[in-house]
């Protein structure tokens, strides 16, 4: 199937997906009574007496279909609603909180994938030796560590014991003032990229310094997945006929592993990598909370906790778009990596 038409077809399918997502979520949120949904607007017990007025004001007791069509109409005209938890339109909230998460995802994903593939390949190539066992157990230990434990221990050591060496937050107070001032233009709100675009060295260094701990936390925890997958599929690949042939031909082991086996072992890794990036772009609340690196994960969590329905819907739509795009990329990569994989057709 021709690649271009495949891509277009997949992108067109985005529309029913988005529709399905919104209907599904809207339906689920309607499981909450008007009173429950009205509590979003109550921050203090003194306000409880006014709950009925709040329900009426926001039309929370209107029939479900009416609320859905109202919302749908707004969305189609570009208005995703108002996110109460952060006091700004949903659309704006996504733009506002995404950069922090993207910054983490941009640095963490390559680290995780690279290390995962490296460790996995090494473990597979040296199966049943100390290296293999060590990396396997090490990866599992990393994975089993609760994220918050690792994050807090890192903070304790590198921020507490080493006297503020690697601090939490995105920037130091001084750099934050600089970034918010008129002399600095925030093109993307991703501090590292902006610093490069503004040719501002100190901000770049400061941003990098603040990135180290959260990225390490995310990496240690997630490397295990990629590593284990890589190992297992490498083992499979190394058992294949062509590997035997390559070895018989006298090729060095390194070439056998890197050039022949690895490529074919990548399929499940690609799947998970796609999922990983999407998951990271979704934001990891715990990391964001501990390191005061608040992004879209934090926002989505607050929205859910507070039953901020517009925000939840908006976030879900954003997510749907993200996953569809990521899955599209993943599927295309399948064909690049393993030419035998055909998309769209069925088994012959």
């Amino acid at each position: 199937m021709e690649l271009r038409s495949y891509i277009i077809r997949r992108l067109l399918l985005l529309i029913p997906v988005l529709f399905g997502v919104s209907m599904f979520i809207f339906g689920i949120t309607m499981l909450f009574s008007p009173t429950q949904r009205a509590t979003l607007y109550i921050s203090d017990p003194r306000q409880l007496a006014d709950l009925p007025a709040v329900i009426e004001l926001y039309g929370l007791d209107q029939p479900v279909w009416s609320q859905f069509t109202t919302w749908l109409g707004q969305v189609l005209s570009g208005n995703l609603g108002w996110s109460k938890v952060v006091g700004m339109p949903v659309w704006e909230a996504i733009w506002h909180y995404l950069p922090a998460t993207l910054e983490l995802a941009i640095f963490a994903t390559p680290a995780i994938i690279f290390l995962g593939i490296l460790f996995g390949t090494t473990a597979a190539a040296h199966k049943d030796t100390l290296v293999d066992h060590g990396t396997r157990v090490g990866a599992i230990v990393g994975w089993s560590l609760p994220t918050f434990w690792l994050g807090l221990i890192l903070l304790m050591v590198f921020y507490g014991i080493f006297r503020g060496f690697l601090p939490p937050d995105r920037l130091s107070v001084q750099m934050n003032i600089m970034v918010n001032s008129a002399e600095f233009i925030r093109y993307t709100h991703i501090n590292t990229i902006d610093a490069i675009l503004n040719l501002n060295g100190p901000v770049l260094l400061d941003a990098l310094r603040h990135l180290i701990l959260p990225v390490i936390t995310l990496s240690v925890v997630n490397v295990a997945f990629i590593m284990r997958l890589m190992r297992s599929s490498m083992l499979e690949a190394l058992g294949k006929g062509y590997v035997l042939t390559a070895r018989a031909k006298g090729l060095p082991e390194r070439v056998v592993v890197n050039k022949h086996a690895r490529r074919n072992a990548l399929i499940p890794v690609i799947t998970i990598s796609g999922y990983l990036f999407a998951a990271l772009a979704n934001g990891v609340v715990i990391t964001e909370t501990i390191f005061i690196y608040k992004g879209i994960g934090w926002w989505a969590w607050q929205a859910a906790l507070n039953l901020d329905i517009p925000a939840i819907l908006g976030f879900a739509l954003f997510n749907a778009v993200l996953f569809v795009l990521v899955n599209l990329v993943v599927d295309i990569l399948y064909t690049r990596v393993d030419p035998r994989v055909r998309l769209g057709g069925t088994v012959q």
Binding site: L13, V17, G20, V21, I25, T29, L31, F32, K127, D128, R136, V137, I140, V141, S144, L145, P146, F148, W149, M156, G160, I161, A224, F225, R228, L229, S232, S233, L235, E236, L238, G239, I267, P268, T271, I272, Y275, A278, A300, W301, A304, L305, L307, I312, A316, N319, L322, F323, N327, Y334, D338, R340, V341, R342, L343, G344, G345, T346, V347, Q348
Partner: protein, 295 residues
Amino acid sequence: MSDWKFMARQLIRNPLSLMGIIIIVVFAIIAIFAPLIAPTPEGHRNPYMIPHEGYSVTPRPPSEEHIFGTTQGQYDIFYGCIWGTRSAFHIGLVVIGVVLLTGIVLGSLSGYFGGLLDEVIMRITDIFLAFPALILAMAIVAALGPSLKSIMIALATVSWPSYARLIRGDILQVREEDYIEASRGLGASSMRVILRHALPNAIYPTLVMASLDIGAIVLAAAALSFLGLGVPEGYADWGQLVSFARNWIVGPPGDPLKYWYAVTIPGLFILFFVLGWNLLGDAFRDILDPRLARR
């Protein structure tokens, strides 16, 4: 018969797989004999609720009375870890089991048959993946009431899409293999091809993810419980014990690791549980796969 004997011998020969078996068996024994190992005190109504002496918030270090110490709220860590083994098996196995089954079925169908079926199933997974997990959990609890069952349903609903995707990806690759073609050429039905040929060769990454996920499920269940969406606070569950310790990970400035026992001990239980399942998974894989390079 000899096939099984051969497999069993392989299993035992490999030290790591042996370790995996031993770990899981030890946990199973702990779970079964929990009432003997950590007897429920007199007059305590629900054995799954960890007993606590008083309400003081600060954890206390291991002592004669509480061999693993107590965590925030004076819950006995030893009791919690022992009875928590039961919860871990319960929550972990049920959720992962359901999720594996669903994922495998849907993923295989999707990957093997392709076409419209593939599109539909994949779009359904997109919808589920886009869904914020917490809201789903809250909605399920709003409908069913807070309980262990509700959070298990919530976790299962949220987790299955990634498994379906993983299996599908592998099946996409595997279905191009020669032996699949050969099998079909011989007239095998699709069901037979999937079950006997495609799936066993594609399933391993999914098993890896499942074995790693068990620990995550336990922790996620605890997080939901703390929001009031699951079991009450103080339920014997490793994840809850770890969560109780969250604010004690870093102790007073002069003695930062003072409350190490509150998080390390339940954490180790989780770690070894996950390790055990992983090693076990590896072991079966090493034995079952006839194509694996043997030295």
